[in-house]
Amino acid sequence: MRHVSDGVLRRLVDEPDSIADRDAEHASVCRRCRARQHRIATDAAFAQRALGGPQLLPYVDAAWSRLVATPTSVRAAPTEGATPRSWRVAGISVSSGVAIGAAGVVAAGAVAAATLTTVFAPTHVAPLPIATGDLQSFVSALGLNGPARLAGVVSPTGSRELSFGTVAWHAGGDPSTYSTLGQAEAASGLAVALPSTLPSGVSGAASYVVYPSATATVTFSSSDGEGVAGSSLAFTIGPAVIVTYGSPLGEGLPSLGVVAMGRPVATSTGATTAQLESFILAQPAVPADLAQEIRLLGNLQTTLPVPTPPGAAESSVVVDGQPGVLLAENGGLASGVIWQDAEGIVHAVAGPLDQEDVLSVAQQIG
């Protein structure tokens, strides 16, 4: 039995005619979904009381006259992503920025692999608020800290026992460094777009590293939950290309990282999405708050969660018409943006730069 996502339950409150009959029917008879819908409707009613109010009926004629009389050269209005420029550029290591961006993608892959079923083929990213310790305990509890590092940071092949089965991982080789983008593209099979205009403080491309694709397979033991017992879940990530730019401030001082990675895919030999989700999120090591945040993501088959740690400010942006997540370190030292393009390629741009700079680079790539 497949439960209805929170997003659908929420829309059921406002626009019931837009919901598929099977979902509406399920929501009306399933005790679990009804209980969730009750909580959702309660929060919606609270928001309505807080934010709803009498609707204004402005005088349009007078307003139009005002607009016509207004010079067109008034100050520009800030729009999505164009928040006041308050993030300073800092000459620090790129590691914190890339940690926010690229590690987010990798860790997101681990989370996604753990919660998806027959075919996981995400089409868009979504932020997943998470405490750093929670992410570590979650990934570690699932035994996915091995494969989570498969994007090239670790031993290419291995396996380990889990409390509920085994996990084995295999990468298609070690990461390789190339001197030109063309070589990296040929080695990875990915077409990588790079910005034509670099932010100040960023010099020409310094290195092109290709991480081969890698697969992690979790085999559940026969005593696990219904549907999950005896099944296996294979998760493939990569290949990926990481382009690291240098800095005029010094050799070996990275200033910007640009990542392109193939769409991650997960396949299951039997368990459904709902069964895997229920089983994994019910593991004692998975914090309750995190489990709830993951459920709130909605359709996990098509959503690539981007963990947003407490030390980062997160906002939604649009890159090339696709939703993206902009993360900024709260001290203003680094920022990054992650999005998935229409063809499924996951992109990330990160560095010790301000939000506008990483967004500018992203918009050039997207």
């Binding site: 996502s5 929170d6 997003g7 659908v8 339950l9 929420r10 829309r11 406002d14 626009e15 837009s18 959702i40 929060d43 919606a44 609270f46 928001a47 309505q48 009381r49 807080a50 934010l51 709803g52 109010g53 609707q55 204004l56 009926l57 402005p58 349009v60 307003a63 139009w64 005002r66 607009l67 016509v68 207004t70 067109t72 008034v74 520009a76 209005a77 800030p78 729009t79 999505e80 928040t83 006041p84 868009h124 979504a126 932020p127 709130l296 993501l297 909605g298 359709n299 400010a313 997160e314 906002s315 939604s316 649009v318 018409g321 939703p323």
Partner: protein
């Protein structure tokens, strides 16, 4: 670009004030004021914010009928400008006096009645992530899910999830402030 040039050649007057934009303005003004008012709760200020959103929109889309998503862009701009106004107001007020303290006897269900409580909601709105505040403002100004999706540049199926998360976060923020 070609469209804009051809269109401007047909209309030697300032295209930003020509018929296409007036029709767009008349169709969208009330909705835009509602978006701004959902945040600022002041009719005059809401109109000012709406005007500013239209000025930005006509600069970007001189002929909105030729644009794919001028209305969505306008709605998002109104929400962002209103939220910026809210944050600016907070800074201005902070220089003049301290906040009125919350009433500890209030439960979260009572929070929205008095002006003091309304200010608590505004405070919560200020602290929410920008995209959460935006989806709330767009929804509670009366936009449909399809319109919210256009304004925020996301798929319509994603709106329910975003709204759910934002409403949960709003309630938590208000409850948190009520307890303190």
């Amino acid at each position: 670009m070609m469209k804009r040039e051809a269109w401007a050649a047909r209309r030697p007057e300032d295209p930003r004030l020509a018929g296409g934009f007036e029709t767009f303005f008349r169709e969208e003004f009330a909705a835009t004021v509602r978006i701004a008012n959902a945040v600022v709760r002041d009719a005059h200020l809401a109109e000012d914010v709406a005007q500013e959103a239209f000025i930005a929109t006509r600069r970007r889309f001189p002929d909105p009928e030729q644009a794919e998503n001028a209305a969505g862009w306008l709605h998002a701009a109104a929400a962002h400008l209103a939220l910026n106004e809210l944050r600016g107001r907070r800074r201005r007020e902070g220089r003049m006096h301290h906040d009125i303290g919350p009433n500890r006897a209030d439960g979260p269900e009572d929070v929205v009645v008095a002006n003091e409580d309304r200010e608590r909601v505004r405070g919560a709105l200020r602290r929410l992530p920008r995209h959460s505040a935006t989806v709330l403002v767009l929804r509670y100004s009366g936009l449909a899910y399809v319109e919210i999706a256009e304004a925020m540049g996301v798929k319509v199926n994603h709106v329910g999830t975003m709204l759910r998360r934002a409403e949960r976060a709003l309630r938590k923020e208000v409850e948190h402030e009520t307890r303190e």
